[in-house]
């Protein structure tokens, strides 16, 4: 059943991606330089949206853009088209997966009240407009760096952290790639994704999702690590046992960092979260009380509302409880195929360092998502007999990202988890490397102490 779903593609998926690609290609050369082919690709969006509630706005915005007028409102409509198309692709892909896994999912409740408007996002919108007009090929050192003031202002406001972190990662890529015109290959889909999502987050009056306090036991399934030059984040997937229900949830802790802090020593930046990190490193469940759970399934981690519980084996939790756990729906504006990261337990496969053969389907191993800050390697996956992983969809195929494996290392059975090194590497060689690299954090903190407070 799972094999059939992973082999099949929902109907209309290719057409939706084709429309998105047309829009994305227009951003390569810039909206100021639309040739006939690119204008035709944008016109295809007008046709595609003609029977939807967005029809009038799409017709107007694309008409104006093609004739050479690019305003913030027109660009918001373009970003909205991408959300609608990729959101539909997300729903179709995830719906198929839910059916195959027998996973039930709560619908997303009606959106909450709009958030506050802010002058801070105007700076972000203006940089994103310049980028859209110039196109990726028009990005030079100056334009790539022009987003920095907006990022600095947003970083100073904790309520704007999400947009700040996104823009900072996006800007770092543009700076590294500038001048983009000389780049042999441009990450067209990726940069359009980041651009469009930043533009959505830069709108005033975004709806805030509902959230409610919960009490229960958080059973860790595994940790997924994220990073760009100025952030390190640990996102823990797990099962939240509350009175009468088991929910599939995530919780996330992130710290700002710099590019020279990476690999296992990046965990040091998360030292403000000892309860969560001990739970990961010590394989314990965590008791939470009155902690906020969003409608999107994100438990907003608060160390003061958590305490370490009993030892808990993620594989035991997954075998017993994952099948019946109720998942949450992604917030409407956040739906995107690349946002799918669905926890699964897989056994009875044949593995190599590149893929898992499930019998009837081969699922690629997402080796780019096996972080240096954890112990799992392609080799340990190849030798494994059971895996807890995240199913993801990118580049028109499903891949699996292992978060934990039951495997054999040097002829001994072991269980490896991405979060095993949360309090420092448990393997001698990695611990030595971490000790050397970890001094980077101390050196920079010392420099910061000396120079920043003068």
């Amino acid at each position: 059943m799972l094999a059939d779903t992973l082999n099949a593609r929902p109907s209309g998926l290719a057409e939706a991606f084709a429309l998105v690609d047309g829009l994305d290609d227009a951003l390569v050369h810039g909206l100021a330089r639309l040739d006939d082919d690119r204008a035709a690709a944008l016109d295809a969006l007008v046709t595609a949206f003609s029977a939807t509630p967005l029809a009038d706005r799409v017709t107007d915005a694309i008409g104006k853009i093609v004739s050479g007028t690019v305003t913030d409102d027109h660009l918001a409509v373009l970003a909205g088209c991408r959300v609608a198309l990729l959101g539909a692709a997300h729903d179709a892909l995830l719906g198929g997966l839910d059916t195959a896994l027998g996973r039930s999912r709560e619908p997303f409740p009606a959106a909450g009240a709009p958030g506050e408007a802010g002058h801070l996002v105007a700076g972000s919108r203006s940089w994103l407009r310049e980028l859209a007009i110039a196109g990726w090929h028009g990005v030079d050192h100056e334009l790539a760096a022009a987003g920095s003031p907006a990022v600095r202002a947003l970083l100073a406001d904790p309520s704007r952290r999400r947009l700040a972190v996104l823009l900072d990662g996006f800007a770092a890529e543009l700076r590294a790639a500038a001048p983009v015109a000389t780049l042999p290959r441009v990450p067209v889909r990726r940069w359009a994704d980041l651009w469009a999502r930043a533009l959505i987050l830069s709108q005033d009056d975004l709806p805030a999702g509902p959230a409610a306090p919960v009490d229960g036991r958080f059973l860790i399934l595994g940790a997924d690590l994220h990073e760009h030059p100025t952030v390190f984040r640990c996102q823990v997937h797990g099962l939240l046992e509350t009175a009468g229900q088991v929910r599939l949830v995530r919780t996330s802790v992130a710290a700002a960092k710099v590019d020279t802090i990476s690999g296992a020593s990046a965990w040091r930046m998360l030292s403000a979260f000892p309860v969560l990190l001990s739970g990961l490193a010590g394989h314990r469940c965590l008791d939470v009380s009155e902690m906020t759970l969003t409608a999107g399934g994100d438990l907003l981690w608060d160390e003061t509302r958590a305490s370490a519980g009993e030892p808990a084996d993620p594989f035991a939790s997954a075998r017993v409880l994952l099948g019946g756990a109720v998942a949450a729906s992604t917030a409407p504006l956040d739906r995107h195929p690349a946002a799918i990261a669905e926890p699964v337990l897989i056994e009875g496969y044949t593995a190599t360092t590149e893929a898992l053969d499930l019998g009837g389907v081969t699922v690629g191993l997402d080796v780019e998502r096996l972080p240096a800050a954890g112990p799992i390697t392609p080799e340990s996956v190849a030798a494994s007999t059971a895996v807890i992983g995240l199913l993801r969809f990118d580049g028109d195929r499903w891949v699996i990202q292992p978060l934990a494996v039951q495997t054999t290392v040097r002829k001994k059975p072991v269980v490896l988890h991405t979060g095993d090194w949360a309090l420092g590497p448990t393997e001698a060689k990695a611990a030595k490397a971490e000790a050397a690299a970890g001094t980077a954090v101390d050196v920079l903190r010392e420099r910061a102490g000396r120079l920043l407070r003068k």
């Binding site: 999400r162 590294a176 990073e227 020279t260 780019e368 240096a372 891949v399």
Partner: protein, 165 residues
């Protein structure tokens, strides 16, 4: 790359920035390839509260080295690099690899990692000391930004530096 059959152009998680390589930071706490320069900060050998701000422009290879108070470095003789500039280049090669540094400075990559000076044609140049020093302070300021439990959904696009070891 996970698969040659999947176009780089159509992948949301297409990798763009090669992760930097770990290096010792005590001597050269900060290096960047930015604003058309290889630039950074080198610790003074004699005074812990003093740093040198050194830079090399891309293309022209204009050298500059000053203290953070904008006094010229005594060791820099016009087109002849001082020890701070040598340390800066060494750190940049350790962090980014000689190939990426050479491309940024618009020269052919050298035969060996240590041979980058042999392909540069340095000249004396005006420094941008205050700008580079502010850039270093902004870099350090990241260490003071408080951690967050915000779910940050866009980080799905940014997997942690990989492990193919």
């Amino acid at each position: 790359m996970t698969s040659e059959s999947v176009a780089y152009e159509r992948r949301s998680a297409a990798p763009v920035i090669a992760p930097v390589r770990p290096r010792k930071l005590a001597k050269v706490p900060f290096v960047e390839l930015a604003e058309g320069r290889l630039q950074g900060v080198v610790s003074s050998g004699s005074d812990v509260s003093r740093v040198y701000v050194s830079s090399i422009t891309a293309g022209e290879h204009g050298l500059s080295c000053n203290t953070n108070n904008n006094r010229p470095c005594g060791g820099l003789g016009g087109a002849h690099p001082c020890n701070h500039l040598r340390a800066l280049v060494e750190a940049a090669v350790a962090q980014y690899g000689a190939g990426r540094v050479a491309r940024y400075l618009k020269v052919e990559p050298p035969e060996s990692e240590t041979g980058i000076w042999s392909v540069l044609h340095p000249v004396a140049a005006q420094g941008r000391t205050p700008e580079v020093f502010s850039s270093f302070l902004r870099h350090l300021a990241y260490l003071e930004v408080p951690p967050t439990a915000d779910p940050l959904p866009e980080l799905q696009w940014f997997p942690a530096a990989g492990a193919v070891r």
